[in-house]
Amino acid sequence: MLRLERRPEASQMMSYLSPLIAIVLMLIGGLLLFTALGKDPIEGFKVFFIYPISDSYGVSELFLKATPLMLIAIGLAVGFRANVWNIGAEGQLIAGAIAASAVALYFYEDEGAHILILMVIAGAIGGMLWASIPAFLKTRFNTNEILVSLMLVYVAQLLVSWLVHGPMMDPDGFNFPQSRLFDEPALLPILVEGTRLNLAFSFAVSALLVGYIFMYRSFAGFQMQVAGFAKDAARYAGFSAKRMIWIGLLSGGGMAGLAGMSEVAGPMGQITEHVSNNYGFAAIIVAFVARLNPIGIFFASLLMALLYLGGEQAQQYLALPSSISNVFQGMLLMFLLGSDVFINYRVRWKEAIA
């Protein structure tokens, strides 16, 4: 008789192995899916995972797509480590994009580096403001931050929709729901000539570095980890729970807002209704696959970005619907949660005692 048995101590090895197992299971699931859809699984695999990054432009696109994921995931990880569950990064990203776009449009046809700097600041503050709503409600009224932050995503989506249909709509845009295309001074400089990879990528790498130092070297990061592992111990030690809720939500919100800014000032060059590509939700999966570790976030973001690119290729070459990316993301998360069971449990063959 097979049975699950609690391990005496959580398995360190399994907690790192589990994301890899999840990735392998996701790939197997993908192959089965392709077969079931009547596609050649090997060809499907190549289209999804090899072709998108088979040339240097593809690789630059991979890093471009990974940039917002890294930014958001590191910001969220800071809060997740303290069990502050900000599920609304998608909305905070939109809020940051709106704020940055407002700056860009205000300074339309203006010159100077201050525009971009102000956009970065506005983006981060926009995201933080949006995240401060669940933070305030939780610290003041003990509301559930998961629900509040998630519901605010839909508010933000409606808000941006209203803005691009109204105040922010391009006056010369034939009533398309989108803003003007930003001027050159309101766009992030390109890092590698001939690609779309821009300065935001170096923001992301810096954010990972700062996040690493915060999490593993700073006392504030230690306090947040204590709160995540054992709430009563944090209270006993005298760490302020409210401060951690604020830090957790504002870091996630600020980074998501910055990601929003990097989208409108980067590959999009304007703000539209579809300013986010579900990055705010995908980054949650990234953070968990990465075990909330900054180095892990770097690689998990690349993997997730590959799923985005692969999904686009699959639409093109395999005539599969665009939701194929979501299916892969979903499989990854599901398999991760499944194999995480084995961090605390192991399977034993147990004979019944006669």
């Binding site: 006392f219 204590v226 592992f229 054992a230 009563d232 111990a233 209270r235 006993y236 030690a237 005692i353």
Partner: protein
């Protein structure tokens, strides 16, 4: 001796080579034990020696991996507690299994087979409780009962099924000395009627007073048998821990200094519907003294400790003064900065973070002892501190990098006590300082507390172990139902008096007028 057991030669219970292996630990190894009719048989051993596991196997809660059990001469495999009860085995657990929102009869009915008539059952309960001197009102709700009364309900529940063997797991840890004596009378009466009793305890004086024979367990193995009446507590202790028992040295009370902790009529209602409200508690602890607070658990100790540490704030800042500052509204971190150290009752999850290393757990409260620079952790300093803690307090562990939850409860307790003591606080508040540590380590910890007092720290100890409080305290007070008795100098009181006070009765003429700060 085993007078009641002489008539019949058949053993009531016989265990042969019982072994139980858990994933990380061998709980019992090759344990053999036999219990005669009408015998009160002690199973003696320290925390973690495997006593409770053995009893759970007899009661069918878990099953042995090897070995044989015989019941009245017949081999038997106890499937589950219901099966055990049908054989005539009853068990009173250390932690009660009663539904607080139901009344006594309903709780008893739940444990009985079938669908008993509640009125009839109530009269049976009254009958049994009269016969064995276990007064309990069948109609009362359990949450309104005292701990001693709850235990009576558990015992009555067992007795209603006319058990032939009654297992009592650490029954006295929650009782006042007077209630213990009553319980012993009941148990003796049962034994005389032929019921066998397995009595689990680590309290040597009780075993000596009550039990006919004793089996000693250490590290899951039987290390000896003895007849308690022929032993001394000291000789049984060395059987139990495998070495001689050290006794702490206590000098004369030190010169009393400034007031380090002052509670001014602290009242606080509990958030927990079954918690205890604190009622106008006055405490004064000076530099260089140890104030002990005795009491049966659940009488407001938890609530008092939360209020002292700052984990729960009180409305009136003036109600609590820490080192001269009104601190009732201060967070725990602020109180630590004033010089207060604190050891909570729960080690894992409150006093320490289970998944974090001992180094990180040292940082948990040592952070203000020059362990940070510009908000960054100085890892070398903190791991040096953790190493010192491990060495000084003889913490058995794999090293300072190992997680707190890899330590045994006693060793973690030593680490936490060490951490707080090494921080040399001006005021130290300790709950159950020696919970779960072996007898030798307990003596060592008590000695360190006394040394700390001699260096001028004010210490408040809340403990359920009266012997411990009498060993280390300069003054002693009792908490009962959220009220605190006046504190008495140790020389002016006795275990008996404190025992009476533990049931809340101190407003006798003898107690009135005693100067709390003599």
């Amino acid at each position: 001796m085993t007078s009641a057991a002489n008539g019949d030669q058949t053993l009531r219970l016989e265990l042969n080579g019982i072994t139980k292996i858990y994933p990380s630990v061998i709980a019992n190894e090759d344990v053999s034990l036999s219990v005669k009719r009408g015998e009160i048989h002690a199973v003696l051993g320290e925390n973690g020696a495997g006593k409770s596991t053995l009893m759970k196997m007899i009661y069918g809660v878990t099953h042995p991996d090897a070995g044989q059990m015989k019941w009245e001469g017949e081999p038997v495999h106890v499937e589950n507690p219901a099966h055990a009860r049908s054989l005539g085995i009853g068990m009173v657990f250390q932690h009660f299994s009663l539904f607080e929102t139901l009344n006594v009869v309903e709780n008893v009915a739940l444990a009985l087979p079938g669908n008993p008539d509640l009125n009839e059952l109530a009269s049976q309960i009254t009958e049994v409780s009269n016969r064995y001197g276990l007064p309990v009102d069948p109609g009362r709700l359990v949450h309104a009962l005292s701990v001693g009364e709850r235990q009576r309900v558990e015992i009555i529940r067992c007795l209603l099924q006319n058990p032939k063997l009654l297992i009592m797991d650490e029954p006295t840890s929650v009782l006042t000395p007077q209630a213990v004596r009553k319980l012993f009378d009941t148990l003796r009466q049962l034994a005389e009627e032929g019921c066998s009793i397995l009595y689990i305890s680590h309290k040597l004086d009780e075993i000596q007073e009550l039990c006919h024979v004793a089996t000693v367990l250490r590290d899951g193995k039987v290390t000896g048998h003895c007849i308690p009446a022929e032993e001394t507590p000291k000789s049984m202790a060395s059987l139990m821990i495998g070495k001689e028992l050290p006794v702490p040295e206590r000098g004369e009370p030190a010169e009393l200094g400034e007031i380090r902790l002052q509670l001014n009529s602290l009242s606080k209602s509990s958030d927990d519907p079954f918690g205890t409200d604190l009622k106008a508690i006055d405490i004064e602890v000076r530099s260089g003294e140890i104030l002990g607070i005795a009491g049966v658990s659940g009488n407001g100790q938890q609530e008092l400790l939360y209020a002292l540490s700052g984990e729960e704030l009180v409305d009136n800042a003036d109600a609590i003064h820490v080192c001269g500052k009104a601190s009732g509204r201060d967070m725990p971190g602020q109180r630590r900065l004033l010089g207060m150290g604190f050891v909570p009752e729960e080690r894992l999850g409150r006093g320490a973070v289970p998944r974090m290393s001992l180094t990180e757990n040292a940082l948990l409260t040592a952070y203000h002892a020059d362990m940070l620079r510009l908000g960054m952790i100085q890892f070398e300093r903190i791991s040096a501190f953790a190493r010192k803690c491990i060495e000084d307090f003889n913490v058995k562990c794999g090293g300072e990098d190992h997680a707190a939850n890899s330590l045994s409860g006693g060793n973690l307790q030593k680490f936490i006590m060490g951490r707080e003591i090494l921080l040399a606080p001006k005021l130290l508040v300790v709950a159950q300082p020696t919970w779960g540590v072996d007898v030798g380590a307990a003596a060592f910890i008590r000695q360190r507390l006394i040394d700390l007092r001699d260096q001028g720290t004010a210490i408040l100890v809340i403990s359920e172990e009266l012997e411990e409080l009498f060993e280390i305290s300069d003054r002693i007070a009792v908490i009962a139902d959220g009220r605190l008795s006046p504190a008495k100098m140790l020389a002016d009181t006795s275990i008996d008096e404190i025992g009476v006070w533990m049931s809340g009765m101190w407003e006798t003429p003898a107690a009135a007028g005693v100067d709390a700060n003599a």
